[in-house]
Amino acid sequence: MKPIEAINDFVVKVANVNGSGSASANQMFAKSILRMGVPATPRNIFPSNIQGLPTWYEIRVSEAGYRGARGGVDLMVQMNPQTWNQDVASIVPGGYLFYDNTRALPPGRLRDDITVIGVPLTQITNATYTLARERQLFKNIIYVGVLSALLDIEPAVVEQLLAEQFKGKDKLIAANVQAFQLGRHYALDHLQCPIGLRVRRSDKVGDAIFVEGNAAVGLGMVYGGATVCAWYPITPSTSVVEGFTKWASRYRVDAQTGEKTFATIQAEDELASIGMVIGAGWNGARAFTATSGPGISLMQEFIGLAYFAEIPAVLVDVQRAGPSTGMPTKTQQCDVLLCAYASHGDTKHVLLLPRDANECFEFGAASLDLADRLQTPIFLLTDLDIGMNERLVAPFAWDDSRKLDRGKVMTAEELEAGRDFGRYTDVDGDGIPYRTYPGTHPTRGSFFTRGTSRDRRAIYTEDGAAYQDNMERLLRKFETAKSYVPAPVQKNAATSTKLGAIYYGSTSDSMEEAADLLAAEGVEIDLLRVRAFPFNNTVDAFIEQHEQVFVVEQNRDAQLRTLLINEGDLNPRQLVRILHYDGTPITARQIAGQIRASLGLDKAAQKEAAE
């Protein structure tokens, strides 16, 4: 078997033990590739565990800029004996295995169709360091040194990254550079370097930034003017709040007095966190919570109250596999229906569906405007894949002339001037009434908020006509929402086609890559990336224009497809399910395979789809 030869287009996967300090070494390895101008997309594959269980870090290097998971491993960096067999098996024929050969392996456990590279990492480390923690941490840096030689990564780039990471701690910089050079020189002296996989300096990174989706959501909340964040820790959303609090502590603390213009409150559970968000929203602050599916399940009653009583609230749902506890550290898009129709009774909610960290920032800030404008809960639906992985994305942008949209709030001056106030009166015909903040005016504008039926002036009533009148106005308001939410993004194929694909969120990279793969084979597909619910009217038009539309998503029950059919009165046969829900991100090859199979294009495609 001829070893693979590839420049700037391959997959490296590092197998580690959770808690061994490998994360920062792996991140530095990924960044060293980016600093050479070559796009690289890492993914953490981690267990629900603090220490001891297997964890992997996979980096897709792609000069073409493909960010989706590819599938298969070209170079396996095997640092965890627990997962030896599965890791060796995951290497594609012609691929490479780099492992710690300090101890001899049992015979007959290596494949003969791969190139095996052994480095006595433990031996080198133990000979150099005496402290157990030093041995553990520097071993990681040593393998980065080996990798730099194997893949032809410029050492100066890594040394610069080490200098940045340990800025101000010169001793640590020197020690880490030494460990890095130790590994690098061992490889150069004992191994054939570079191997067939190489990183070659390029200029494809441009001004892109490298950031996690959750951190970007937190930053979006700071820029969107959130002042109250109430939350309960849950994987994979916790770092949203950590991000918000970190950025807010940087930008929202008075340098003189130390006073903060934000409050992060860790609640006792998700019921309390959404309750606090609703209390704060009712009282005129911009408030949000971040959670995952189990938290949304707990919040259902409150979500119905906020919908019916028309209180602004933002809920960030970083989706993970369900139902129940499901797979807490695996990704899915399985809360679409849960959020779209959350709570008992007739409800519909606005969903925002960002594709990456850049849109996490943008939609995060926009969600607070939308909540105030529409006076209703807004769901920002991301997932673990977007939220907990660093990605190369377009830089964040902000227009300084932009104002916070506080929506329809009647002021003390307007009340004083005699302007009529009825809390649930549709004065503008868009279904959105005016509200007042508590404490606005001594005698005018107060009202009683409740989850039970009331008339247009917020007076309690159990009259059926008043109830129905209100429910219909809420529908009008939902219709109005269509013109405020982010519009879908359409990308037509080079030639006219009767095939279309609808997708959203974290499957976007893989879908767009799949379209390229299929186009190369002569299968052209028009693309429509949905960015919000309620759906813009162009979504129905897109479906009508195509004979067959593939709906790509990461859940078992084709939830977005259900939502499209339900809301659009569409013919279900027109919409073909392209699904993947084992907790790993869908790949372009899987999408292309399923589409080929659905079109009956070839048998080989079916085999690939089953991978």
Binding site: L34, V205, D207, A208, I209, V222, Y223, G225, T227, V228, A230, Y251, T257, G258, E259, K260, T261, F262, I265, A267, E268, L271, A272, S273, G275, M276, V277, I278, G279, A280, G281, W282, N283, G284, A285, A287, E301, L305, P395, F396, A397, W398, D399, R402, K403, L404, T436, Y437, P438, G439, H441, P442, T443, S446, F447, F448, T449, R450, G451, Y460
Partner: protein
Amino acid sequence: MTYLPKPKLHHPELPKNDLGYTRRDYEGSISTLCAGCGHDSISAAIIHACYELSLPPHRIAKLSGIGCSSKTPTYFLGASHGFNSVHGRMPSVLTGAAAANRDLIYLGVSGDGDSASIGLGQFAHAMRRGVNMTYIVENNGVYGLTKGQFSATADRGAKNKKGATNQDAPIDLISMAMLMGASFVGRSFSGDKPQLVPLLKAALAHKGPAFIDVISPCVTFNNHEGSTKSYDYVREHNEAVNFLDVIMSRQEITVDYAPGTVEVVRQHDGSLIKLRKKADEYDVHDKIAAMEYVQKHQAHGEIVTGLLYVDTDSQDMHDHLGTCSTPLNALEGETLVPGSAALAKLNASLR
């Protein structure tokens, strides 16, 4: 309930408070509770206390959960914003509201089902979080709207209207509030307005979580023989440790008292609580002793009432959070949004 609304016109000679408001300005709409309900007396006491303290009605936010007690905020302070939220979840909604605007006065109204059963967790956590509020439980030991089931505060051995006996241990909200960190704790009886009104006034002037448990008999489902929350039972077993007067800081303060029988407590806002002690050995500043006293008397079937505990050095949630003095809901984009220059620097750090 009555079907006869009070006339809107005020008597011209109705007395006015410092703000020029009459008692009528603190009223709400007509109660829809049963005639003779203890809760209506509590509403009247709230009106009285707010009037006497000259609180601007619109600067009070009244929040409640679900149940008979939680309906009452409609029946007082009609010029205030009110929020009838979710069963057992008023504390979290109030916490969020208090976070959003530290300048309003927060009044949480709840019941024993709302706070001791479904909402026990939120009740406890609002206390330990130090939310600046007055939290009233209108405690009748029974579910009214669903017609007479025992609540978690019903005493073991208490009989319901159908004769069934409660076998479960009761939850004592007073002891819980003290344990969980309430910095003002009192108990009273809806039928004892002279005790309840000053207690409410002191609580409203208090900074931090002020909790008042008000025994409030349910005339329909829990006022019979064998009930430990009936008017007769509570009157017979009421053990008041003190009676109090509240003197606001803006009033001229002249304290006349006989040493040993009256204690003066100064609160954060400068208001004075004048305690006329009934139980000489009772120290309202000693939480551990207070808890022991309450428990000891409870074991003898006595209901200890009055101001039971106060911490005059209390802090509130905003002190803990370090938030700015301007209410968070009044901050504008200029203050909140870091802007494009900061973002450009941040982008640079992410490359």
